[in-house]
C-alpha cells in the first residue's frame, strides 16, 4: 500500500467518512474510493451495496480480481431520554456494535445506577448534543415524551442528517409534534424523516420489547436498499 493511500485512508476514517479500498489482488494495485464518489465510479453499484452491508468482498471486473475492503465508521446511537425503554435499548445497541450515549437533563433519570457503563450526559440537548458530533452515521432516538427536551433534540438530528431519527409517541402525539417543529423552522421533509410511532410493528409491549422493535427498525434503515426499506416500514 502506498503511503499516500494509507495516509488518506487514516484521515478519512478519523473524520468518520466511509471509504472503500479497492485492491487488485494479482498486481497489488490499489485505489481508495470515497463514498461521495461512488456514483461516478465504474464499480459504483458494487461499492454502494458493500458499504450498505458494511461487508468487504471480492468482485471480478474487466478481467481483474478485486478485493473491496469496506471502512465504515462505527455507527453511533444517541438516546435522548434516560427512561425505562432506554435502559433496555442502550445495552442492546451496544451489543450490536453501536457507540451509545444517553442524554437527559433530569438527573434523577440520567443516573449511573440506572445506566451502568453507558456514557450519560445530564444536560439539556442544546448543551449536551453539539460535543457528541452527531453525524450521518448516527441513529437518533427521542423518547422523553417531554417536548421541551425532545423537540430541540430532533431539530439537531435534522440538521446533522442522522441516518435514522425516531421519536416516541402515538400518531396523535406525533401530529402535534409536527406542528410544534414546523413552528420552529423544520421542513416537511424533516418531519417526514421521523419514524413515529417508533420501532417496527411487532406488537411490542414491555420496554425491552420496544427496544427490540427500535433496534430492528434502525437495522432495517441501515442495511436494506431504499425500496425494501419502504416495504419494511
Amino acid at each position: 500500500m502506498k503511503l499516500e493511500i494509507l495516509h488518506e485512508l487514516n484521515a478519512e476514517r478519523a473524520a468518520r467518512r466511509p471509504v472503500i479500498l479497492v485492491t487488485d489482488t494479482e498486481s497489488g494495485e490499489q485505489r481508495l474510493v470515497k463514498a461521495r464518489d461512488f456514483a461516478r465510479d465504474p464499480l459504483g453499484a458494487e461499492l454502494e451495496k458493500q458499504l450498505r452491508m458494511g461487508k468487504s468482498a471480492n468482485v471480478e471486473a474487466g478481467g481483474k480480481k478485486l478485493f473491496l475492503n469496506v471502512y465504515a465508521p462505527t455507527a453511533k446511537l444517541v438516546i435522548v431520554g434516560a427512561v425505562h425503554i432506554s435502559q433496555a435499548l442502550a445495552p442492546l445497541a451496544r451489543s450490536l456494535g453501536y457507540d451509545v450515549t444517553v442524554v437527559d437533563p433530569r438527573t434523577a433519570f440520567a443516573s449511573p445506577e440506572r445506566f451502568p457503563d453507558i456514557p450519560l450526559v445530564a444536560e439539556w440537548p442544546e448543551i449536551a448534543l453539539p460535543p457528541l458530533n452527531v453525524d450521518p452515521y448516527t441513529a437518533f432516538v427521542a423518547v422523553t415524551h417531554d417536548p421541551k427536551i425532545d423537540d430541540p433534540a430532533l431539530l439537531h438530528a435534522f440538521e446533522r442528517r442522522c441516518f435514522y431519527i425516531g421519536a416516541l409517541g402515538s400518531r396523535k402525539t406525533h401530529a402535534k409534534r409536527g406542528d410544534r417543529l414546523r413552528a420552529q423552522g423544520a421542513t416537511e421533509s424533516d418531519i417526514a424523516r421521523i419514524h413515529a410511532p417508533i420501532g417496527l410493528a411487532i406488537g411490542a409491549v414491555s420496554p425491552s420489547e420496544i427496544a427490540v422493535a427500535i433496534m430492528a427498525e434502525i437495522t432495517a434503515v441501515l442495511r436494506l436498499p431504499p425500496k425494501q426499506k419502504e416495504e419494511a416500514a
Binding site: K2, L6, H7, T23, K55, N58, F67, T74, G97
Partner: protein, 107 residues
C-alpha cells in the same frame, strides 16, 4: 473491532514514517468457520512486532514470517491457510475454516 483496526492502520503509518519497514496483511476471503471476517488486518514491522490479527491467533506466526519476505522484496503475495493444506494444519487453523490473506508492503 473497527476501532482496533483503525489503531492498526495508524500504527502502520506511524511505523513507516519512523523509517521502519512495514507490511500489511489483510484477510480477503474466508470459507467455513473462519475466526476473523474479510477485511481484518495485521500490521508487521521489520523488527517482527505486529498488531491486530487475521485468524485470532491460529496462523499469525506464519503470516509474520511471510511478511518479513514481503518487506524485503516489496512484492505482494497471497497466502492461503486451511485444513486441507498441510502447512496450515501444522500452524493450526483449528477452527476448520480456510482463509486467504493478502500481504503487501507499506510505502
Amino acid at each position: 473491532m473497527l476501532d482496533r483496526d483503525e489503531d492498526i492502520l495508524k500504527a502502520a503509518e506511524d511505523w513507516q514514517k519512523a523509517g521502519r519497514g512495514v507490511a500489511l496483511a489483510t484477510v480477503v476471503e474466508t470459507w467455513g468457520s473462519a475466526p476473523r471476517p474479510a477485511g481484518s488486518s495485521l500490521v508487521i514491522n521489520d523488527e517482527g512486532t505486529f498488531l491486530g490479527s487475521v485468524s485470532g491467533g491460529c496462523v499469525e506466526g506464519a503470516v509474520v514470517t511471510e511478511a518479513m519476505d514481503v518487506i524485503q522484496s516489496g512484492k505482494p503475495r497471497m497466502l492461503e491457510f486451511g485444513v486441507a493444506d498441510e502447512t496450515a494444519w501444522n500452524v493450526g487453523l483449528s477452527c476448520g475454516g480456510t482463509i486467504r490473506v493478502f500481504v503487501e508492503k507499506v510505502g
